[in-house]
């Protein structure tokens, strides 16, 4: 499947994928990373987060794995990692947004705003 078929991504989806870009994370870490990346503008509820994770799993953009980080609880914790397809989609979305942003100075220059 071509990455562009999944575009455009919603802001929370983009931020979730971006938060997973450096490496695998569990649910709470994703929630915090999204909050930090968006400078507190996007705050995910657990329902929204796991609803999005379910969709991303179904679309093969992420996959589940055992959490590599030490776990203080007895509960087995799952982490999520970007798939190759997910990384391509993230890059394609970033490129799409860069193109859009590149248009802004031109338009601003023309209208002299």
């Amino acid at each position: 499947m071509t990455p562009t078929r999944s575009l455009p991504l919603t802001e929370p989806t983009f931020l979730i994928l971006l938060s997973l870009s450096p490496g695998p994370k569990h649910g709470y870490a994703i929630m915090k990373a999204v909050e930090n990346l968006s400078e507190g503008q996007v705050l995910l509820s657990t329902g929204t987060l796991y609803g999005a994770l379910k969709r991303l799993l179904d679309e093969d953009l992420i996959q589940r794995m055992a959490d590599p980080l030490p776990n203080p609880t007895i509960r087995e914790r799952k982490a999520y990692i970007l798939t190759e397809h997910g990384r391509r989609v993230l890059n394609a979305e970033a490129a799409r947004m860069r193109k859009l942003v590149a248009l802004v100075p031109l338009r601003v220059g023309e209208s002299n705003l």
Binding site: H26, Y28, L43, T46, L49, Y50, K54
Partner: protein, 340 residues
Amino acid sequence: MVQSAIGIYRRLLRLYPETFQREFSGEMQATFTRAIAERQSRGKQAGFLLRECVDLPGVLLQLYWKHWLAWFERGSMNPMNEYSSPSSRRMALMGALPFLAYGMASMLGKLTFDRLHPAIYIWMGLYGFILIGLLIGWVKGFPCWVYAYLSWALVLAWYWSNFSMQGLKIMGYTFPFYVPWGWLALDGMILIALAWTRSLRPVKQFFVGIWNDWTRLSFILFVFPAWLACMYDENHSPYLLLFMLGSTLAFTIGAYIFARLANSLLRILCLLTGTLVALGINWICDSTWDFATYYHLPPSNEPWYMAIFRWSIALAFIALFLLGPALLPLIRKSIGRLKA
């Protein structure tokens, strides 16, 4: 407060679709517990809880939409349900025939309105056809198409429970007045069926069929709107037969397509569409023929929107009526859980 919030959250997780719960509820609970503890340390737990509450309906709506869509595509609420496989063309036609026969009998009944005996022969012919169909289906172990015959037999037996034979004489025998011949004939047919099969197994198969495929119960109930909407009682529209034919075909085609489908939801939508079309035809008939003038009654002052309201209520009631049996899989699932 945090402990109470965690307890409430754990209960709220039960609102999610079952497959989603199985996959994520443990993780969600762990994430929520960590998040609320962290927010509490910053004194921001109220905002976090508020967001959880505000987001919940939208998330549930999205998840259930997907859940139902998956069910819609899969074909049945119960993927192990071998009973809801589509019927062959012949079997589907068998299931649709009583609807066509009833419509035809109603039309012939209108044509012979002034003469009683021909009308009785028509209804007896129809009832005989239904009972023979029911008998064959009973012996064959209650396949899907027979449910329509049973329902028609019950409706007609009940409808004519006080129907007088008016001293009708057939082959030298004079029928007594006010004998519930409809019920007697049905009882006779059941006795023949029991004597033929020498077993109660078909009766069990009837209930097992409904238990495993709830749309069969909807199919049984579908006979009631068909019976009402094809009757056109006290109606003398000049185009009456045309309207009756339209309603009859709507129900007949609805019953045929119902049996040819495997998807439970589509099956019910098919029955509802048939009913909607037939009711629409009824409404056109009512709107184009002046009942009050014909019967020398004062003209009706009912505003047009009240008529629409009345018809909408009727349709909503029928939709609930046909969808009611969908509760069966839920009951079955609960029983399964209790057994587990």
